[in-house]
């Protein structure tokens, strides 16, 4: 009898833990992450304004990554990008990072148009580094999965901060 009551109590406790947890009619969803799979261990800014603020206050360059969740080129790049320890470490230690699936109203972030995937570096002086480009003339800020070495070299360029004019 004692054992039965204990079981009942356990059932009640387990029941109360799940009480008050809304489940959509269409079924339970996986919570959205700010990383969206581009690096779950990185600390991502939510908005461009936030990224700029962090870049200025920490004196670190900002990397802005435009992508879409259903774009095959983005998914291919994301896989090698997230799995690359070197890129993840450099970004974690030396950069402020932001990934966006929605364009901002700031035209400086699309120097040659809006396309994905597109990676733009911004100096902590708030200057968009339009000079740091990939290998494609028609989409100068695009990277393919085989361009990771160039991306790392561009990250090193971005780390050499523009000095503010005194």
């Amino acid at each position: 009898m004692m054992k039965a009551s204990l079981s009942l109590l356990l059932v009640l406790v387990a029941g109360s833990c799940t009480f008050g947890k809304y489940i959509p009619k269409s079924g339970k969803r996986v919570p959205q992450t700010l990383s969206r799979g581009w690096g779950d261990q990185l600390i991502w800014a939510q908005t461009y304004e936030e990224g700029l603020y962090w870049a200025r206050s920490r004196n670190k360059p900002l990397m802005v990554l435009f992508h879409l969740e259903d774009c095959p080129h983005c998914l291919a790049l994301k896989k090698v990008f997230a799995d690359n320890d070197n890129i993840q470490r450099i970004l974690d230690e030396d950069f402020v990072v932001l990934n966006l699936v929605y364009e901002t109203t700031d035209k400086h972030l699309s120097p040659d148009g809006q396309y994905v995937p597109r990676i733009i570096f911004v100096d902590p002086s708030m200057t968009v580094r339009a000079d740091i480009t990939g290998r494609y003339n028609n989409r100068m800020y695009a990277y393919e999965p085989e361009d990771l070495k160039l991306l790392v070299s561009n990250m090193q360029k971005a780390k050499k901060l523009l000095k503010s004019e005194l």
Copy 2:
């Protein structure tokens, strides 16, 4: 010998699965969520621009929730907010939702100043519903945990869309 090789193979496979997963020096982090605990089953907009776009295209009101992760009033409100099935269901079905830990540059979102927690409704016509207020005269858009009924009633108000003038 066959068994040993198989074990070795399994070790190698297991090893390759974890290879390439960057862990920060300070230890593994929990991936950041867009919900930040305010409703893991809701689909959150990332930016105000994105929220406005969704609100217009879906003809649903936008709820913007300003908070900070280390503010006790926010944490107290978050707990009851996230656990309230009714609020979560209404938000999921009838609203576009956005939570921000960083102020935007849009002053319409801080009609009586920047403080947290603060809940502002925006009509799909892109009008900030400054008329939908809580119970505190000095912080008109603040809610305490005991104000959930008022919040639900304000959500119902926000659902009555402003008609565009024809």
